[in-house]
């Protein structure tokens, strides 16, 4: 199994939630609860379990549980197959729960490239992050 390396693009959202990790964990791992906030699904909390997330828009995501550590970490692949490479996506979603004084710190990360982009980069894409970092410096620099 190949998983995106640290050089891939990602979306990270962090929130402090006033409930204990155990409660968040139930909402993250029980299918009828997942359906209420995310999508219809046949999720099961077992590494290697393959499942689908079915969006109200008709799209179906192919997923596989990659890592699970009760009340702490849940990670699954989040792939969208499409004949049109512009819409195909391979990514990994990871939820990390950290107990805090007031409840739980939730971190959600989705990391990945579209497959065609990964190919386009070939061996050169390791330099991509550095490129963007540098570019950001340039863009942030006052004229």
């Amino acid at each position: 199994m190949t998983r995106p390396g640290p050089e891939t693009r990602s979306v990270v959202i962090e929130r402090d939630i006033p409930y204990p990790p155990e409660k968040l964990w139930r909402a993250l791992t029980q299918p009828h609860l997942i359906a209420e906030w995310l999508m219809e699904n046949d999720f099961a909390p077992t590494v290697g379990h393959r499942f689908n997330l079915r969006g109200a828009w008709g799209g179906v995501l192919d997923c596989e549980v990659l890592a699970i550590e009760p009340n702490r970490t849940l990670s699954y692949s989040w792939d969208f197959a499409s004949d049109d490479p512009a819409y195909a996506l391979k990514s990994v979603v990871t939820f990390t729960l950290t107990p805090t004084a007031g409840g739980t710190h939730l971190r959600m990360e989705q990391a990945g490239f579209r497959p065609d982009q990964k190919q386009a980069f070939g061996g050169a894409h390791a330099g991509w992050k550095g490129f963007f970092d540098k570019l950001q410096d340039v863009v942030a620099r006052p004229d």
Partner: protein
């Protein structure tokens, strides 16, 4: 997502081309001669890369006497941030629902 992304990524997939573009971003406007000295490839090769970059909207050129000056167009990178922005919007909405659900759950 669109084929516009593919064109942008393809254009920057070539390491020499990317190095030329980075150089223009960092150091501002340059002549083909200056870029050739830096890139370590022949002037025709640099000109060809600049042609591809120009066609993809990454650089603009300006004629001055016998020299053509090239500069970077940073706005060309705008579409590349779309994916991140779209997914961030998606997850913010879903996590709002997640928190609403937690309020409704027992315990």
């Amino acid at each position: 997502m669109s084929t516009a992304h593919d064109a942008l990524f393809r254009t920057l997939a070539d390491p020499t081309r990317r190095a030329i573009f980075e150089r223009l971003c960092r150091d501002g406007e340059q002549t083909v001669g200056a870029l050739t000295a830096f890139a370590g490839v022949s002037q025709p090769a640099v000109s060809k890369h600049l042609g591809v970059l120009k066609q993809a909207g990454f650089v603009r050129d300006r004629q001055e006497g016998r020299n053509t000056h090239y500069s970077a167009r940073l706005d060309a990178l705008g579409p590349l941030s779309d994916w991140t922005r779209q997914m961030t919007g998606f997850w913010e909405t879903r996590l709002d629902r997640f928190e609403d659900l937690l309020k409704r759950m027992d315990q």
